[in-house]
Symmetry: C2
Amino acid sequence: MNRREALKLSGAAMYSLSQSLLSNASSLKPAAMAQTPIEQWGIFEVSVKGPESGNPFLDVSFRATFRRHNRTVNVPGFYDGNGIFRVRFMPEDIGEWTFETASNIPELNGQTGRFDVVVASKSNHGPVSVTGGRHFCYADGTPYSPFGTTCYAWVHQGDELENQTLRTLSTTRFNKIRMCIFPKSFPYNHNEPVYYPFPRDASGKNDTQVFNVQFFQHLERRIQDLCNLGIEADVILFHPYDRWGYSSLPKEVDDRYLRYVIARLASYRNVWWSLANEYDSVKTKSMADWDRFARIVEEEDSFHHLRSIHYNKQVYDYSKQWATHAGVQSYDFICEFPKTRQWFLDWRKPIIFDEFQYEGNISDRWGNLSPEEMTRRCWLCIISGCFASHGETYKDPSDIIWWSKGGSLHGSSPDRIGFLRKIVEECGPVGLRAVDDSYYLSAAAGQDTILYYFDYHRPEEYEFRLPAGFTYRAELIDPWNMTIAPVDGAFTGNAKLKLSGSPFHAVRFRKTI
Amino acid sequence: MNRREALKLSGAAMYSLSQSLLSNASSLKPAAMAQTPIEQWGIFEVSVKGPESGNPFLDVSFRATFRRHNRTVNVPGFYDGNGIFRVRFMPEDIGEWTFETASNIPELNGQTGRFDVVVASKSNHGPVSVTGGRHFCYADGTPYSPFGTTCYAWVHQGDELENQTLRTLSTTRFNKIRMCIFPKSFPYNHNEPVYYPFPRDASGKNDTQVFNVQFFQHLERRIQDLCNLGIEADVILFHPYDRWGYSSLPKEVDDRYLRYVIARLASYRNVWWSLANEYDSVKTKSMADWDRFARIVEEEDSFHHLRSIHYNKQVYDYSKQWATHAGVQSYDFICEFPKTRQWFLDWRKPIIFDEFQYEGNISDRWGNLSPEEMTRRCWLCIISGCFASHGETYKDPSDIIWWSKGGSLHGSSPDRIGFLRKIVEECGPVGLRAVDDSYYLSAAAGQDTILYYFDYHRPEEYEFRLPAGFTYRAELIDPWNMTIAPVDGAFTGNAKLKLSGSPFHAVRFRKTI
């Protein structure tokens, strides 16, 4: 089954699970067993009919406590319009769970129930978290190496383009996407969004006392669509590129928005939180604001999804405890990536280069890399023990540019990035770390795999120093033509190999059994 | 007449001028007019027979004072073996000069004479010096932009290979060469030199009380050969790559060697002095030694040739007064060249990147650039307002590698560097300076020419901001395919151009008359 088929099947199946619970919800009986078993890291949703009068967003509190044996998880709920209050739970353990709701409204308070959680389906590995200090894995232990792309405002483009984006994603090997909640106002981004997060009157005034549930329902659907494709949704909570007022909301609205988003989305196992795109370009917010947002995300997300923040020029201090990983930007990437050695020492966290310019041909300096240079940068990230994010900015007569709106990909780097993903995944469960004392750039996954990337160098031959006591097979890798050519023989110790003579090639040594 | 023909003709002619004076020298009559007129910036040599007994190198002082009107130039002489003492003069002014020798030996003292200096021949523009703070020109005002190459030990390879090197040079557009006086001991450099600078006994002991005049005569011949090809000889006085003891001579021998070299070579108009290759790798010498050498070169060179020094890792302080220009090395060139903005402010001198790795395919990190990357680096130098040096290190079964021994060139960058030289020379008499506020890399020669280099960027089109009040014609330049494609129309102010779509291309704007 390819990814496009997976989108059709599993997307429908998983979403309807949540829907079916929703439709039963108003008749949910206290302490009754839910009919459909929930899979581990799936979504169990309690929905209860409550008051529609007044402003339920502000006036009503609603949460639930989920219990299994000695494990208790408190989960905030949210108002979804039409008198429906929901609380969503992502169970981490198999077996029987119970829940009990709490509210300042009697009819929403003290509702209880039980449900069974069964083993996850094959494609469900759970949420991603940090492992080994510099790497990621799914909750079931499957290694996860982010090979992400960027479609900032794709959920604001309407179903036709959004479905095209999903179809495009299904044909790639990208397993993460950077995406904003708020719409984007920027060059090439002049269209109005289909949905606004707050109701908006004819004069353009936001009613920030309530939320536009249609927008958030739509957003959730897109996150589920991504989940069905096996793609992590790196959800960007704030950004500066705004003409609607979303980057300059009052503090209490910012905080309420954050809590609402978290209550709605945190049960989706593929969600990551990025506090901001270019936090230092959001001139209305101070570091104290970002610190507060970080605390809110930490406290409100009962499922402890990955958390980071992205900067423009002012490198964020990712040693701050709340951040699970670094999401750096680098205009001057070729000169900055060697800094990662120090960054790893300072931050002790995985490093993702969220942005190091895009493949494309627009005039802006950040948007006209050749596919060869994009491929090279991805390799340099990997060989530094970091991860890379793709983005694409080819001119389009309708300004439908992948980096922001999604649609179709036009570049040649995605295939090469997919090839690199294959190379990295073949390195085994131990992630790659830069080898500091190598003459050329290299990274090793324990003793199992040693990967050399020669960047612009092209020695005719080279004597590699392999770890003592092991025997390796060698492969010559052409990252652009996506070929892996085994070299005859077995290699130990100081091993001289004749190379391709071309720049931007790689060599992989894999330990023989 | 191409450069190979020039080598044959002018080489013979100019060298025989010096030779003919030499053959007459022992019978030179006091106050007699020399027969052959000397051209401006040519060499007038006085040679007198003196004592052969004792050690004339140490025991005999010999110098001469040259006068024309109120101009007096004191020039040190040297002992050339077989009882012959010489003093060489490079006249800067046309007309009649007189001279008078001075010595502690009566027969060498008080010799006088007159000679006429006539206007320089067409290919003789005089020595190169600094102009406009960041650029170079010949003494006759002709702009000179160094496009040099590197053949460190070429004068130690024997006539056959040396003549091949000269033939190769005659087919290129290189107009400078970095070359060592001492032979080189280094990987790929295991052969013994043909001549040693000091006599050497069977056990390998140097007799540093005398010089091997055959070596220095040979060196002079090679410098004259380069002069005949229009190539500046960037003469490197010390270097660390040594197995003969030349990098660890006693201080008094170092100083005597320097004075001897200067006395012999300073009259060659194409000589530049480089105190060292990688001064900071010469572990036997301190900064005080280098300072002393600088003073000796300044004081002893009556003709004030260009002076610099080259480093390995410790950037030299080129603001020191003695240095006429910077001769930097950069392993990490792509990240270092932006430092040139600060360097220009700190040093206020021309900057030549003497070494930023070489085109080739050897294993060493510094020796396996592709020709594309070498070409790119040369463009980046030029667009930064600096100058670049070529070098080539292709593996050879006999270790005859251009970078050290000369011979033949095998790479593809020299033609592209020649093309770049043409581009730069067409920019007119005012040299290029980096434009600091441009979105992409650019340099301007006054208002006349603006040169953009897009490096890895490849916007489909770009709106250039041309200096107000002028009209320009535009050309699209492909540095690799060496094409210049004029763009239709004239451009003023903000001018949008459709570009090639390929990276590493350039655009030139030239003011219309």
